[in-house]
Amino acid sequence: MLTVKPREAVAQRLYSFNNTDIYYIQTSKFKTNTISFFFIDNLTKDTVSKNALTPAVLRRGCGSYPSMPSISLQLEELYGSSFDCGVVKKGEYHIIYFHTEYIAERFVEDIEEFFKKPLKLIVDIITDPVTENDLFKSGYVEQEKENLKSLIERRVNDKVQYAIDRCFEEMCKDEPFGIYDYGDIPGLAEVSENELYKHYKNVIAHYPLKVFITGDISINNLEWISEELFKIISDHANHKNEHNINTNSNSNIRVDSNSNSRVDSNNRINNNSGSKSNDNSNSRVNSKCIDNGKNKIEYEPKQNKGIFYSKNSKLSGVKQVTESMEVNQAKLSMGFRTNTSPKEDDYYVLLVFNSILGEGVYSKLFQKVREESGLAYYIFSQLEKFKGLSLITCGIEIDDRDKAIDIILKQIDNIKSGNVTKYEYESAVKSIATGIGFLKDNQLQITDYYFSQILAGTNDCFETLLEKIKRISVEKVVNITEKLKLDTIYFLTSKVQGQGQYKQ
């Protein structure tokens, strides 16, 4: 008999066998229940495209619902339940996820055993794909390769996100983290139908799997859900430890960008009555390699956009990359190495440091770059938890590049020399505390929070995280700047001077 302690919003492991863990997060305030599946891989050039294609093909159809419209019909019948799948990188892990959200049974009168149906659907999609001759249906694979290709190409549409992702990519060009979540076009083209199906079988059988259930579910129903999951993963469980994930190597230090709330005030206009969402934040950046070198001046004339590598004596040892496109506003991103893993105490110091530097309206960057200098409308800094990176980004006038860099670096120097006011420090700590409180009000964020804890090898619940944050002193924040190293400056601009050379 399953026992579940009545603990609100804490992840309880119901079952664990070999490569699979099932967690339940009990919470009664929501109208919905959710189920999420996370298959975990290392982020590598070899598997990135295959991982990305797998959920894309699976969502095209399954045994009981063999096409996309039939899946959508079923979701509509289930009171507009949602289903989503895809891949995401967390540091140098590559995660294949499947997620469903459906209204709680208390709102449903006309469907018997309603709670069983969304689970059956998502399990079917994952385990029972439409096949032809022991391969995925060929048309599905071809179409999804095309779709993935355009998804990679369209990263450029969202310039704000593009400037963030490109900076990270340039910075980690020779590391797995430099790989885009959805891979690159040459890698995608190489994936054969044979290989893809073999890969899928391997994912299901061998990849470590974490399942998270949230909501208010009776013990009986939880038991039924678990039994259903046993059935589908029994095969999975027989292949113990065949897929090794580097959990201990340094390269797996990462940041969870979701748990770091961005500066809301950057979003002043929200066209609610305008009908279309203009948010392209789902489109991520192209890892399409700009080949070559460190600190060399180079130019790729074949590209629509010119990309330059240059060196500035003031910033010796810092990689500087300039890319040009037809834009009205330039984007400046500065990438740093924090040299800190999320398992270290210093990681909590970094959270406070980042907040003081550029997370809220009280932060140094917002105050100096926007409010005092009027150089930017948006500017913020963010952490990449798992990989140990930090990034500052803003949108500015093309001619203001050097001025902005100076002011930004001066803010870090200020912290380094102990110039942190009580107001800045206290606002930062309180703002992080508030952000932790907000996480608890969203089922997806609660799930992501615990999943990230597991990946990082940490075990903080919301309260212990908060306690640790509150203990961080200003001195610690000042000292952490010693570990911070500026690595790459990325500039997206429209202005290109001379032949293959960006003049400082």
């Binding site: 009171y79 206009i269 949108g395």
Partner: protein
């Protein structure tokens, strides 16, 4: 006077309080939530550029982007930026301007009444100076530039410019680089004094709070007791005809973006009619192009659309339209196929089972809104200014039927009322 309404079907309650000044305040308690969310909104947005000053009787026309500019500057107070005070409480204030409203808000976990006090205070106390207004222009210029580089935003406003000839909804909410130069502090004060009277505003609090305490606080913090003369907003006459069928712009995009819009006529519709029209057109759009539709799946399989494809309907008293859009290598082909399907639908009608299924799905999604304090607030505020109660969204499903759906379909999907906007790569 405190009023309470209970909606047992979805486990929600709403409290209402009416202040002497004509301001209405509402509370939707959310037990168990950490977040507390409050908004203070005025029925004044980018389309309200022309009006009659109720004090002088003069006809006034403002430069584009004034409402949004005012929103930025209201955060400045005599003693400095109000942001600092929110930061000291660990909360985050924010604001947004849309076509027909400006919304100020904060979210917090603790010290709710201190936060609410700040919100009520800064929205009621403007402090504009020449210098601070001039300085803000640099920041807003960067905001304008950011939107100029956003292809989705550009495509949307190009579409509205095609659908509308005169209506100010065709103009960008932020204004443009020239119009913001004209703005000065006197204009901001003038607009503030007219549109920020409590009788033109609403307060909503969502979260685990005590309704009575909150209303007491609002009562003592709203200083205005008198009612305001009615504001006369001036709208140019706009015919039902569209301005032009097609617009195109070149930007650095990898795949063309397109938006197809149908201009709708919701003029003079009130409350229930407006709500019913909105829900029915959304059902029709879902049936026509939703994920389970033949059209969507045909376009998807032919590689003509991808997962960015989406649609929505906006129905206000002065403007109404539906928009369908996404990315496509061949937007013309998408349009052709869509027209064929509309043609077919108009001739053959909608099957009852399809209508019932989509209705059920939308009902379920409406329940899901109530997970998110932000969503509750967003829908509440935009409904409120149309005299619609948020909870009417649940009851409406019992009132709509297939016959009404068919008649709305014929009114809305008119091929002489459509326009298309395309953003192509450079």
């Amino acid at each position: 006077m405190l009023e309470k309404a209970e909606y047992d079907k979805i486990d929600e309650v709403i409290y209402k309080y009416r202040h002497d000044s004509g301001l209405n305040a509402f509370i939707i308690p959310k037990k168990g939530y950490s977040k507390k969310y409050a908004v203070f909104a005025t029925r004044y947005g980018s389309i309200n550029n022309e009006f009659i000053d109720p004090y002088s009787g003069n006809n006034i026309k403002m430069p584009e982007g004034v409402a949004h500019f005012l929103e930025h500057k209201l955060f400045d107070q005599k003693e400095g930026s109000i942001m600092d005070k929110f930061s000291k409480l660990g909360s985050s204030p924010n604001a947004y301007t849309s076509f027909n409203k400006t919304v100020y808000l904060f979210s917090c976990t603790g010290k709710f009444s201190e936060n609410l006090e700040l919100l009520l205070s800064f929205v009621q106390n403007p402090y504009f100076t020449e210098t601070s207004v001039e300085k803000e222009k640099d920041i807003i210029k960067q905001e304008i530039n950011m939107y100029r580089d956003n292809p989705g935003w550009r495509s949307f406003f190009n579409l509205l410019e095609s659908l509308y000839t005169e209506n100010p909804v065709r103009k960008d909410i932020v204004g443009n680089l020239e119009s913001i130069e004209e703005i000065d502090k006197d204009m901001l004060y003038k607009c503030y004094n007219i549109f920020y009277h409590p009788s033109n505003m609403v307060i909503l609090v969502v979260g685990d709070v005590d309704a009575e305490d909150v209303f007491k606080q609002i009562n003592s913090s709203i200083t205005t007791k008198y009612k305001n003369p009615e504001i006369k907003r001036i709208f140019p006459t706009e015919s039902c005809e569209i301005n032009k069928e097609y617009s195109e712009e070149k930007m650095p995009v990898a795949i063309p973006l397109f938006q197809i819009g149908f201009k709708d006529d919701a003029n003079n519709l009130k409350r229930d009619e407006l709500l019913m029209r909105e829900v029915l057109i959304k059902i029709l759009l879902e049936i026509l192009t939703g994920r389970s539709s033949q059209l969507y799946n045909q376009l998807y399989e032919e590689g003509l659309i991808n997962s960015t494809f989406e649609f929505d309907y906006t129905g206000e008293e002065n403007y109404a339209y539906s928009v369908i859009g996404g990315e496509s290598k061949d937007p013309d082909r998408v349009r052709e196929k869509m027209f064929d399907t509309i043609d077919y639908m108009l001739k053959n009608g909608v099957a009852k089972e399809v209508f019932e299924r989509v209705k059920k799905a939308m009902y379920g999604r409406t329940i899901r809104w109530f997970n998110s304090l932000e969503k509750i607030s967003e829908v509440f505020i935009s409904s409120y200014f149309k005299n619609i109660n948020l909870f009417d969204y649940f009851d409406i499903y019992d009132k709509i039927n297939l016959e009404y759906l068919s008649s709305i379909m014929k009114e809305h999907f008119r091929l002489d009322r459509f326009a298309m906007s395309v953003i192509k790569g450079v």
